[in-house]
């Protein structure tokens, strides 16, 4: 019984981790290439979810909605990059933090203006409803498996994009030496816009896919944004590989910790206080993990020192 529960929670953790990866990949890419710390990344998660909810209510198709989340967030990303973000690359981190903080207020209130304060809901399509038996006696939600599959697919796609294509070469060159690649005649501001839009669209896709399990509402992006920060601090800022491993680590630790820590503490303590202490520490577990990793390696697991 416990092993089934454990396996199920492990899959939940991986599913959560793959979504975190979609968020943190964009964040780490934007930081790596443009040196920008983008607090407003969570807003693209929200914009993606709202675009999906809008298209789903108009057409009734979940697949079109997913496509809308990608393109909606990408369009918002391009516009915001050109109007505001572009001016911030040369500024110090403090200006970037504050400007993107202000952008969160702007975008959240803007979306609340357009869609109202009530949460929207996205329906999961027929084929992905229900459960799928995996292994002998373990059944698991089809939709969550789909999320894991999509996450891994995108991770593979990003790997190919970065390591095998011309755009990838440019992105890697941008990470190493910004001045040099613009001196080599590459339109650096176009590259920046593309990278920003790529990051935004990945966040938007994550927002739409999670929006179908939870609800689509203003402010949904910020909790997951902060987790994405924890992920890239653990993985090392600028490293996509670090983001992938950090995401899975954070996703699994968080999910397993919340479920099993209270159980574990019940061995030593009376059940009532074990539950409250366990759930409190469980919710802090990833931050403790982050502190531990930083004590051992201040630049994160795959960060450049």
């Amino acid at each position: 019984m416990t092993s089934i529960l454990f396996f199920e929670q492990l899959l939940n953790g991986i599913q959560f981790g793959t979504m975190l990866f979609l968020m943190s990949a964009g964040l780490t890419l934007i930081f790596g290439v443009m040196g920008l710390i983008n607090l407003a990344h969570g807003s693209f998660y929200m914009i993606g979810a709202f675009s999906a909810a809008l298209i789903a209510s108009l057409t009734g198709s979940f697949w079109l909605a997913l496509l809308a989340s990608l393109s909606g967030a990408a369009i918002a990303g391009v516009l915001i990059e050109i109007i505001i973000i572009r001016r911030l690359y040369r500024r110090d981190h403090l200006d970037q933090v504050l400007a993107t903080f202000a952008l969160i207020l702007l975008l959240s209130e803007g979306v609340r203006w357009c869609f109202g304060a009530f949460p929207l809901y996205l329906d999961i399509p027929e084929i992905l409803n229900g459960t799928l038996p995996i292994l002998d006696d373990i059944i698991y939600s089809k939709y969550r498996l789909f999320i894991i599959f999509m996450g891994l697919l995108i991770a593979a796609g990003l790997y190919i994009l970065i390591s095998k294509t011309r755009l990838g070469v440019r992105i890697r060159a941008g990470q190493n030496d910004r001045q040099m690649i613009s001196a080599l005649g590459i339109d650096i501001s176009k590259l920046y816009t593309i990278v920003f839009a790529l990051g935004a669209s990945l966040a938007g896709l994550a927002g739409a896919m999670i929006g179908a399990i939870q609800s689509v509402e203003v402010g949904m992006g910020e909790p997951i944004l902060i987790l994405a920060f924890v992920v890239i601090v653990i993985g090392g800022i600028g490293s996509i590989k670090g983001a992938l491993i950090g995401s899975i680590l954070v996703g699994v630790t968080d999910t397993i910790g919340r479920i099993f820590l209270p159980e574990l503490l019940k061995i030593f303590m009376e059940p009532a206080s074990a539950t409250s202490v366990g759930s409190s520490i469980g919710s802090m577990l990833i931050y403790i993990l982050m502190a531990l990793i930083l004590i051992i390696k201040p630049s994160g697991l795959f960060g450049k020192t």
Binding site: I37, I84, H93, V97, L106, E109, W113, I226, V233, L294
Partner: protein, 327 residues
């Protein structure tokens, strides 16, 4: 700079005038509002020491603000319900005396700042920003999931904490208590900034390597600034709980850290009175825009972005220039 000093005197003058006017015209609401400005100003002045003068971009000062608030709330919750708080190593049931609460708040915020500082100052740049943010979030989630003190709903204290021989429930009296703290904090900050220690931490902001090369242990200097900064913000948190007679996890939220940062930037970074002006501007904006539209934060965001993109040096600097040209 001389003009700015005159302007600062005007600020202090208004801080005396507005609540007294509020008292005379029986508008206690304005007294409360000004109290809020003063308290948030103290929190901002605390952050300004680390962020403005030493260049430590802490995105987690809500942790200290919230800790100060929760320590105050918990102590007085136990005192009012005469419930035993803990029985080891000594038995205590809290306290509702500000003279007891303040030292405990100061010690506990200093201790928290010491721990967070020790861990996060190992890193620099973006890592530091994110780690301070993450520590504050850690406390936020802890406060939400810890059921003993209200959890997500927060904790109400029915009586404002007391001072011997003073009626703290009177809005004007409580305001002057806060104002005293503000003056003390400004005095200490001014002394610090002009001391040799102050020279050291301001030099670190400009070039840490050079400060190291003259033989100053920059890590210790930064840690001390961070601790002082966190302690001041913690004290503001304590006053904030007394003002509202309520504390909830929302003061630990990352948005609070952002707002304290906004006070510092709006007013003018590394200016002694900057955070106070920023807090006043923020509260006035919240009140006026909030009475016109529910979406006042949209306009706040817009003003902030324009400030950062085009003005860059805060409200006080605008004033400074204007006065200079007029001469």
């Amino acid at each position: 700079m001389i003009v700015e000093k005159i302007f600062n005197k005007w600020i202090l003058f208004f801080l005396f005038l507005i609540p007294v006017l509020g008292f005379i015209f029986e508008e206690p609401y304005y007294i409360t509002l000004t109290t809020k400005v003063v308290i948030l100003g103290i929190a901002g002045i605390g952050l300004n020491l680390a962020l403005g003068y030493c260049g430590l971009i802490s995105f987690g000062h809500a942790a200290f603000f919230g800790l100060g608030g929760y320590v105050t709330g918990i102590l007085s919750f136990h005192a009012l319900s005469s419930e035993i708080m803990f029985s080891w190593p000594f038995v205590t049931s809290g306290s509702s005396d500000m003279l007891v609460i303040w030292p405990i708040v100061i010690l506990s915020s200093a201790f928290l700042a010491l721990i967070i500082g020790l861990l996060s100052l190992r890193t620099t740049g973006v890592y530091f920003i994110m780690i301070t943010l993450a520590f504050a979030q850690m406390l936020y989630f802890f406060a939400i999931s810890w059921p003993n003190y209200g959890g997500e709903d927060g904790l109400s204290i029915y009586m404002r904490n007391s001072l011997p021989m003073i009626n703290t429930m009177d809005p004007l009296t409580f305001y002057f208590i806060c104002l005293c703290w503000l003056l003390i904090v400004i005095f200490i900050s001014a002394k610090l900034i002009n001391s040799s220690f102050g020279m050291a931490f301001q030099a670190i902001k400009q070039n840490e390597e050079r400060v190291k090369s003259v033989g100053i242990e920059t890590f210790k200097v930064k840690l001390l600034v961070f601790v002082i900064s966190g302690t001041i913000t913690g004290l503001a948190g304590s006053l904030y709980t007394d003002l509202n007679r309520f504390i909830s996890p929302s003061v630990l939220n990352w948005q609070m850290s952002g707002e304290i940062m906004v006070f510092v930037i709006l007013g003018g970074i590394a200016r002694l009175y900057g955070p106070l002006v920023g807090a006043a501007f923020f509260i006035v904006l919240e009140q006026t825009l909030g009475s016109y539209t529910e979406n006042w934060q949209f306009w706040l965001g817009l003003i902030l972005i324009l400030e950062i993109l085009y003005v860059r040096t805060g409200i006080l600097s605008l004033f400074e220039k204007k006065l200079k040209y007029e001469k």
